[in-house]
Symmetry: C2
Subunit: 283 residues, 2 copies
Amino acid sequence: MAEIIDGKQWAQQLNVQTKAKVDDLKARGISPKLVVIIVGGDEASQIYVRNKHRKADKIGILSEIKRLPADTSQEALLSVIDGYNRDSSIHAILVQSPLPKQIDEAAITRAISPAKDVDGFHPVNVGKLYTNAKLNFPVSCTPKGIMTLLRAENVELTGANAVVVGRSNIVGRPMAALLLNAGATVTVVHTQTKGMTDYTRQADILVVATGIAHLIKGSDIKPGATVIDVGMDHDANGKLTGDVDFDSAFSVAGKLTPVPGGVGPMTIATLMQQTVELAKWSE
Amino acid sequence: MAEIIDGKQWAQQLNVQTKAKVDDLKARGISPKLVVIIVGGDEASQIYVRNKHRKADKIGILSEIKRLPADTSQEALLSVIDGYNRDSSIHAILVQSPLPKQIDEAAITRAISPAKDVDGFHPVNVGKLYTNAKLNFPVSCTPKGIMTLLRAENVELTGANAVVVGRSNIVGRPMAALLLNAGATVTVVHTQTKGMTDYTRQADILVVATGIAHLIKGSDIKPGATVIDVGMDHDANGKLTGDVDFDSAFSVAGKLTPVPGGVGPMTIATLMQQTVELAKWSE
């Protein structure tokens, strides 16, 4: 029977720490401020953005939502970003995904000042992560939050066999880098992998970020493993569920994150943490 | 019995292609130019630099060696780099490693213009590699050269179990990224890995870059695997040898690079190739 990793509780703890840092910074005359840019945006995006805004507010982080019409041109968006890059009262800039078709998302990522890149997606920040640079720089919030969870749960990282399922730029790849930097032996498996379960069954730490509901079953998991489910999928009834089949995984894993209540709350708490870090580093 | 991968021959082929590209560029009024900066430098570094200079000369690449005294300050070196960054006749800048103690190597890496970063070590170029960016950018020459070898030898990459031994910023990490981008399932093992041979014995492609002479024996290799030896070690008699025990590996591997004559010649040929690419991309 797995121990459930309570992401909500750990996120709350992190938020308390972040709030204390906000108070410190404010006492020194710095008010951490986040801007979230949303271009058009479906209902899910609107909810994400609103949640970020509310959470920031609770923690004492100033936050601004910049809504742009769905037909905004790339040039117009770049010009908005440039304005925020130059505005020293703003410490963190986030452009909500997905963006409309007329906009080159990679070019937008490269346009955000690396010093305000709260998502950690700018190539120069990614490069610092992959070279394990001894510098202050932002890192993609979901994998950074997972590292916080693993450390909070005292999961042994050094020498652990860590398997990351999925190779996205937002989760899989930076997750692999963070685990490697922490001393784990890291394997990245993905859609082109042959015999995926041969790898997952060896993993002491298994991070699953594929967007495929219930891809990983209990029989794919090493008994006692720590299983981190990054999935935000919907089952046949439209209910939120993960990439891991919770019921069968529960009887095999040593520790397991639920969906919802696992990685999700940590991601948003890490976004807040990183906004405050960017403000601090900007001093 | 392994087939020997003839790095010298493949390097020669690459050099012929590079020379043709140099001729093309020259016909259009562009003379690719490489500057190699060496600060102090032991005998080995002097030999490396001289070899690069000679090879460039043969291919028709202009090359300049900038020798600075061993007690050069960081500021002085940064100022030399800045001058080359601004000089539009120069397309590629390489600072020979190792550097004297008073110089912060990481800061030097970040000071070279990413557009002239022929070693591919600048964080922004590393970030582009790790995010598999669809852009032109330089990549660390040794792993890039190994990819050229693997493709020349028609080694199946998609879905292959690739194991990289070593996690340096120069070889192990960028090698892992290139293999992942090519569709391999990639594991990075290193000094903190428990049970290293459990991983190496599963590898269809095994790249060894540890600096430990004869670390990998035939019994650590999957029969028929492609084994790439990045080692440039010295045996008890001072003779150049690799990280792979060639004699025992020879009877197990499917394909195997020798040391010398494997990865080494490809690295320098790739440096030349990349110098010309940087010149072309600068147009």
